[in-house]
Assembly symmetry: C2
Homo-oligomer: 336 residues x 2
DNA sequence: CAGCGCAATCGAAGCGCTTCGACACACGCA
DNA sequence: TGCGTGTGTCGAAGCGCTTCGATTGCGCTG
């Protein structure tokens, strides 16, 4: 089943069929109809390789999903799924690369013209893949923001603003000493952009408002969370507000606080930075800044498509955080 | 940078370069060396589309990852990553399809010759995608086993044997009444193969050994787990052994048991069906049947490659379960 | 009413690779 | 010496599509 079969069936030339499909030249309505009908009747599907060869476009983008230690897989997959969905909306497919292949994988899929562009997730402040991406002639978009963004295209939630928003919310409720329960240590050690920026925003806002702040990295295991919370509240008994930026730690954290005989939010207020589903399925539902994975993934795809269309998109797109008050943060309790 | 550039540089014809690369005809060592050197010097990378067009092979396989309600995303990703890794070992890339595209997506990637074969995860007993897969001329492999396997190629852990092994282990320890804490109800409702087979094996083994058994589907939320455990042990006070086949429920389950004043394994023995990392990071480490995602994914890829090479692989490959005793299952306590 | 511009279509030339048959040459054997 | 047999290499013909220029026929305009 080739394009020439369709052409014969519709009584036109192959090029006409091609133009009907691509819309790159005007075709009379009558001809278009006949061609589309023939395509339908014959069940024609163009050969992807032939198309890629002739047009120099594969209609495939690469997505690098780094399943590194410390990352929360379900959230990473929310990003990935939204990239796939958005790509499909724009007639593109997604080739899955793992971090295991490293920079060589990027060079390979670009060099063989297997993909038209690349989306990279989980960007570190000084990411090893960036020089490679710069050296490629293929466009790319980073989900996450590195230290040096010149000439790159990045998109992410504005984690600094998110950290600020959480601190500000607690400050406005009257809390005078707050703490951030953060990502696992390994995430900071490899200097993942989003984690650092959250911490920076949180600290800066607390400082500007003249309230005390602490940051505690935290592994996901419930025992580790309990230890972190116990240690924190032991050392700093004045802490009445917690920000948690660590999805799997959310539930253990609530347990740990209660285990210490404190109520949420009566004694301790909690604000999360997490996807809405994580924040709403706890009891009480958490006041949170939502992590709009859907939107970030979609935006990454549109930015990449813009670059494919030779538009020059902005270097850094930061989505503003939205803090949704729910039931886990309240006014600071009166001093005992 | 084309194959003819390499040919010129090495002083041979393009076809010779092609044969060096594919190994499909014998080439003298001297010529091979020169060609490989030229490739190296020039940094030649063949154009994937051209290759696919000429050879009728894209060297890409499709992977359908269905992120449906109730599934445990980290485990699903273990499968996906092992598929990608194994595919790369065999010079193939992986195109990521989500369930959202449905059967149309399968027809599309096969019909456009975008992929050479398809791997489908999370197969249901009566899976809607199977008729489509049968109608395709492309080979496919299912991870999971449907009701009717004729003409298909399936691979999975032998969940029935796994269910049996858990029941047998507890029976051998003297337990007379045991229960399976299962997957979320939605997983059974859509009749996912692995969940049903585990239940069947568990029940059959218990029955054959003349001991009591119960099965409790269970959502992942800690409160749901606690409710399920409390309800179960309340209604059936004789239960002393639990099998848990639900990764996110593992930790909450241990908490719930302890919350009822029972010790693991002194009062209640627990056996998990879960990946090793889930089973070992609890306290105490769990006696478990491991879920060999790595091996299943790798096997799925080799089976697919066999089909691409026109070998006729077996219809159903079930990997035998391995039960590893750790610290969570012990002899049934003496009656009070 | 000649000439122009535009819309619609066609034909042919690639895109960069694989593969088939042909060929040249060396070797061993009769 | 002549012939078969292999081995290593080449040339050319596609694979199925896109795209560029050319061509046709039309309605208008000056």
């Amino acid at each position: 089943m080739r394009i020439s079969d369709v052409a014969r069936h519709a009584g036109v030339s192959p090029s006409t069929v091609s133009y009907v499909l691509s819309g790159k030249r005007s075709i009379s309505p009558a001809t278009r109809r006949r061609v589309l009908d023939s395509i339908d009747v014959l069940g024609y599907q163009p050969h992807a390789g032939a198309r890629a060869l002739a047009s120099n476009r594969s209609n495939v983008i690469a997505l690098v999903v780094p399943l590194r230690p410390g990352i929360h897989v379900p959230v990473a997959m929310q990003f990935a799924v939204s990239v796939v969905t958005s790509a499909r909306d724009r007639e593109h497919d997604v080739l899955l690369l793992t971090q295991a292949e490293g920079e060589g994988g990027l060079r390979r899929v670009a060099g063989t013209s297997m993909v038209d562009g690349i989306i990279v997730m989980d960007v570190e402040v000084d990411d090893a893949r960036i020089p490679t991406l710069r050296s490629l002639s293929h466009p790319s978009v980073l989900i996450g923001v590195p230290a040096e963004t010149e000439g790159l295209t990045c998109v992410d939630l504005d984690f600094e603003a998110a950290g600020r928003a959480c601190a500000a919310h607690l400050a406005a409720l009257g809390h005078r000493e707050i703490a951030l329960i953060g990502q696992p240590p390994s995430v900071y050690e490899r200097r993942t952009g989003f984690a650092e920026r959250t911490v920076a925003g949180f600290r800066a806002e607390a400082h500007e408002r003249g309230i005390g702040s602490a940051v505690v990295p935290c592994d996901a295991a419930p025992t580790a969370v309990a230890a972190a919370v116990t240690g924190l509240l032991g050392e700093r008994p004045g802490v009445t507000g917690l920000v948690v930026h660590n999805e799997p730690a959310v539930a253990p954290l609530l347990d740990a606080v209660r285990g210490l005989g404190r109520e949420v939010p009566a004694d301790i207020s909690v604000v999360a930075i997490a996807p809405d589903d994580v924040a709403t399925e706890t009891s009480p539902p958490l006041t949170s800044v939502s992590l709009p994975a859907e939107e970030v993934g979609g935006r990454a795809v549109s930015l990449l498509m813009d670059k494919l269309d030779d538009l020059g998109p902005p270097e850094v797109t930061l989505l503003p955080p939205r803090l949704v008050p729910r039931a886990s943060a309240a006014a600071r309790p009166a001093l005992p």
